[in-house]
Symmetry: C2
Subunit: 441 residues, 2 copies
């Protein structure tokens, strides 16, 4: 008999169907046994005799033929999408037996510490709340792409292996590349910028690599970057407008397609005002000083506390969880950043903050070859290390800009996760690649 998916059962009352899935929970009253069966579409209650279902263990994979019955009004389970029906089991086939579970999978939230959860990553993926994280992430990533395709951006594949680290190499991974030394890319920045000189509008979903020897809750050594870049802009405002459009598009899609997932985390889409507020770094620091007495007014960047404070300000004063912060110090930014003509000490570089943390960085880039070349030397870089980049701008390039968003961070801060590792299926850090490294070799 053709398989019926769990979510489709509610339309099949009175029919005999075949369900396939995993034994998610089991309540054994000896003569009568209740099972919650799980497939990729959800959970459903199955009831059967002890003779038929009694020997089943958690996570066994089964095919169950059964009759779909409407539940009496008072037995309806409002917490379950399929709570209006239950299945009376008629026939059972076990497709695969499970070993005894090393962790308790039955709780609404997995009550294990993160390291244990990751030690049992293959198993923890089966928990509905863990699955919800990656459903949301897939929607975020696809929404990013859809948003940009609708604006005529071309998708490109950013390389991971690179031959030089023009922006400084302390946090870069080295690769043995035949007889040469190569590196893992920290950002597709130069590639996406050079591509605009041919394709105008490009985006990429790509992996970036950072050898940060720290174990914060916000950093991974391999992360998914959502990159966009385009040219023929009149000003940096067009870059911010495009980024705002993309972020709103992402939120709309999550709101539309992830109701169930958001509810599991008691999460809501970030608050948005009619237009994301924008504030210059120095003005932000002034506000922080006024609000807290903490004087960061000469710092080159916002510290984590500052990010939280300026987000609090944006929410209270502007009704927005999101806020652009612009005008970082030109000399502290990469060589390609565009100084504000009105005040060249500060660059037209812009971070997007949300819920207390940086989600994105972007801005306008230099497009004049001679200026770029001068900066390459001033920043102490080697021309040969940015050869393809220079080549692109040597032969005519319009004004350009772009931005990059972190896929795991967005997922984390939409759902209110405590650690970015929860938002990566296979998080890598200095202590773990799948297994804990200390015990791996």
């Amino acid at each position: 008999m053709e398989r019926t998916l769990v979510e489709d059962t509610i339309n099949k009352i009175g029919e005999t169907i075949t369900l396939k899935g995993w034994v998610n929970t089991k309540r054994d009253h000896s003569k009568i046994v209740f099972i919650d069966l799980r497939d990729r579409t959800g959970l459903i209650q199955i009831v059967g005799t002890g003779d038929l279902l009694g020997s089943l263990k958690l996570e066994d994979v089964v095919s169950i033929e059964g009759l779909v019955k409407a539940r009496p009004e008072k037995m309806i389970n409002p917490d379950l999408t399929t709570g209006t029906v239950e299945i009376e089991a008629l026939k059972l086939a076990v497709l695969s037996h499970s070993a005894e579970l090393p962790i308790d999978m039955s709780k609404e939230t997995l009550e294990v510490e993160l390291p244990t959860l990751l030690d049992y990553r293959s198993l923890s993926f089966r928990h509905p709340k863990i699955q919800a994280i990656f459903k949301v992430q897939a929607v975020v990533i696809d929404a990013f792409r859809r948003a940009l395709m609708e604006k005529d951006f071309l998708e490109f594949q950013a390389p991971s292996i690179i031959n030089a680290v023009p922006e400084g190499g302390s946090e870069v991974f080295k690769v043995d590349y035949f007889d040469h030394e190569a590196y893992l890319s920290q950002s597709p920045q130069l590639y996406k910028s050079l591509l605009t000189t041919a394709f105008e509008r490009v985006f990429s979903v790509n992996h970036i690599f950072r050898a940060e020897p720290s174990a914060t809750t916000r950093h991974l050594t391999e992360a998914v970057s959502l990159d966009a870049e385009f040219n023929f802009i009149e000003s940096v405002d067009e870059v911010l407008d495009m980024e705002e459009y993309v972020v709103r598009y992402i939120f709309d899609e999550v709101q539309q397609h992830c109701q169930k997932e958001l509810a599991l985390f008691n999460a809501t889409i970030p608050l948005m005002s009619e237009k994301f507020p924008i504030i210059k770094l120095r003005d932000a620091q002034e506000i922080i000083f006024e609000r807290t007495g903490r004087d960061c007014r000469t710092e080159k960047d916002l510290a984590p506390d500052d990010e939280r404070e300026i987000c609090a300000w944006a929410k209270e004063e502007k009704g927005s969880d999101l806020v652009f912060v612009s005008h970082f110090l030109t000399k502290k930014k990469p060589f390609y950043c565009y100084p504000d003509p009105a005040d060249p000490e500060y660059a037209l570089s812009v971070d997007l903050l949300c819920r207390g943390v940086e989600w994105s960085s972007g801005g306008q880039r230099l497009n004049d070859y001679e200026t770029i070349l001068k900066n390459v030397h001033e920043w102490g870089l080697k021309e040969e290390d940015v050869a393809l980049y220079l080549q692109a701008f040597k032969f005519g390039s319009p004004p350009l800009g772009g931005f990059a968003l972190g896929a795991e961070r967005i997922t984390m801060y939409i759902l209110g996760l405590k650690n970015v590792r929860e938002a990566s299926m296979f998080p890598r850090d200095m202590e773990r690649i799948d297994l804990r490294l200390s015990s791996a070799k």
Copy 2:
């Protein structure tokens, strides 16, 4: 004035518009100058006085205000999408000057050798025929995703950094990972399989890395793999059906969205019969022997000549450019391959060949934990190197299978390119990472 895109000019006859783009070609008759202007949507002819346009150089970036005029019947250029109109230039602003071009970009096909083309990669991207390659590739990749999303597959992000090389390490890149040795993934096979035990249906567009010390026309050290895997299958036939569905979906999308690009290469979508033919390895070898006298009947795999021959057979006898070849030797395949119960010496592993070359490999995988564990030992692997994989199957897993397609190969063989490097924006091989490595350091 708002920018008008080149492709939209044909609907604006009689209007004064502003175009922005690059000077693609220039024919200077002194008092009158013809320019082909290029933007991301195509080329258009602009005519103006020598005074206005005479000083322009190839690849200068310009903003031109001009009047859209219908061309007289006999002046219509059928080779140009905008061949029914031309622009009479009224005002000119140069947004960016180009240096003199080191290669001739004016020919319909870039007449330079591949190494030179790659040395000037940033520039060669501007050639319409090069752009067409990556337009097709973007459509291929997006079609792969759309096809699978429509079948309820979840997108996942396969990691690039791995901690062990269970399938043998001769062609793997090593990464310095803090105090440990890590590697670049050759395939997301184990990750996608283990994910099915939780998500049922998954796919990934991911980068794979092969340290092949060879310089063939078909191999890259970093390539884009299109991976799909799903479970609750009744037999390997479901895997082939899904793969055929995906490949047809890709071809449909390319046919629909890449007419202009296919025409540039004089390319056609591969020939398809009602159902892709399928043939067992030993039967294929028998046919090759009959057709050519070449005896490969005891070989474990098809050599390049054999692949071409069996594709020729499929085209002549079955009316199909595509052919599945199944039943490779179990012992020569990875530990997770599913032996045919009817003849366990051969596995339910299946390659898809098209136009003389392998496009894909796939098949059914083992799902029984004890059998997998036995094979891990028989194949000489360490349990700890496949720990997460074993964990997934230990706790109940239904029958599964899947396949992987190479994005560059598909692009290459749809368009009839001679070298796979042409189908990679930034091809990496043992001699090149952007620059030629010999000259890089």
